[in-house]
């Protein structure tokens, strides 16, 4: 699986770093370092919906608050 987080200016100001840090933590906590690849990119061209995140090219709109929920729903369940 590959998660890409937008780290462009707009998403950055909406908390992209917190999203990245949470994902890093959750990936490590669940021992998924070999299964989930985390990356960044500058701008996905969808700034209004930031923080923009793609999971295997499927777009999602995250906030630092709902990142854990996203991780549990979309990643842990699939890997279970």
């Amino acid at each position: 699986m590959k998660i890409t987080v937008c780290i462009g200016s707009s998403c950055h100001l909406k908390g992209a770093r917190q999203v990245v840090e949470q994902l890093q933590y959750l990936i490590a906590e669940n021992n998924l370092k070999n299964d989930v690849e985390l990356g960044g990119t500058f701008c996905m061209g969808n700034c209004q919906k930031g923080v923009c995140v793609t999971l295997d090219d499927k777009p999602f709109s995250l906030t630092p608050e709902n990142t854990k929920e996203f991780f549990q729903e979309k990643i842990l369940k699939k890997n279970a």
């Binding site: 200016s9 100001l13 990356g39 960044g40 701008c43 700034c47």
Partner: protein, 475 residues
Amino acid sequence: MRKFDTKVQHLKYKVLREVARQAWNDKLLQTITDIPKMLVPGKDATMRCCVYKERAILAERVKMAMGGDISNPNVIEVIDIACDECPMGGYEVTNACRGCLAHRCEDVCRRGAISFDAQLKAHIDKVKCVECGACAKVCPYSAIANNKRPCENACKVKAIVSTGNGNAVSIASEKCIACGACAYQCPFGAITDKSFILNVIDLIKRSDNNQKYKVYAVVAPSVSSQFAYAKLGQVVSGIKELGFFAVVEAALGADMTAYAEAAELAEKGFLESSCCPAFTDYVRKQFPTLARHISNNLSPMAVIARYIKETSPDARVVFIGPCTAKKAEFQKKEVRPYVDSVITFEELQALFDSKDVDITVLSEDLLDNASYFGRIFARSGGLSDAVRQGLKERGLEKFDYKPVVCDGIEACRTALLKAAKNISDGNFIEGMACLGGCIGGAGCLTHGDKNKSDVDKYGMTAFEKTISDAIGVLK
């Protein structure tokens, strides 16, 4: 509002704007020979002896706007016919000399080069004179003037070669570090930097609205001291309006560089900064024995461009900054894979106006990737502050950090001479070829006293306050 420091810049800008306008419309090939006449219509000369010479020089400027002489690898070139061949006699006594009794000039001259005629007026024997300037300093009437060509005066690496009065200058490329000081200082605009605006226009057009690949603009933090007639967010909007996909701060690359250089410094114990391409070029050309101390890290421009290309393989990167030496840097084999082209703020202004983009009426877009420390790289001393912070954030506070902040080649030379003799009073040389740092760059639209405080203000508004936080998103 004042857009440029000098009318020479304005003239260069008009040529760039016109060339760009024709290129956007795919008409350059048909209109290329008409551009000089478009810019200087009519019969009356306003700049030179006749309109024909004006147009002949403009034709050369058009060529420079299109990339200049391909067979000459130097990005700085002389337009021979534009050179006024100004006097270059060195120190000479002017008619302000009153034939006084004190003769301070004679007493101060260690070479015995001063003599006096029947009216007691001073004369300098050019065979004995070594051009030290001591006589000019002591004359109470300021009657001794230095007739040095402005380009030669500006060039602190002595790369300007004048063969004699009545001859145009040329540039010794083996000495030239492409800082652009001569281009900025020449009152006739006879020395100028090659432009890659056509490459940039081509990159944007071929991207098919960023469908085929995405064109990223990496903008230097000194932008905060530029485009004073508009807001920074409007400049960002303007860049996107030109067709760029996204705008990224080079300052984030500066954060990455500072963090890496802090570790490298602690490991090696002595380091020269790698950010300024004119400085590193100077070290390699004039102090080859010190070249091994240049940081192994790529410059902030190259570091952020590499990150963009690693994460978005379909990216193309254009650097927009104050610097003419970056135009040479991006062509080096270690930087070439990451940076596709380089333009200056002057050229960005020309691109805006070539598409009739009035940035003052645009809404403000966002630009926020870097920390305070990455942003203050734009001014002298900023890099040293950032490396200090890098040491702190890495827990290397115990390292006895002694930065030597140098702006301008003369200060760099002093620091390097000391380092070569092992009598340096520091262990980190921050070398910037331009006075004041990047804000003094030759590719800036304007230079002013407020530039430094503008950069500091811009630094303070950064969302991230530490280097670790700014680069935290990159892992």
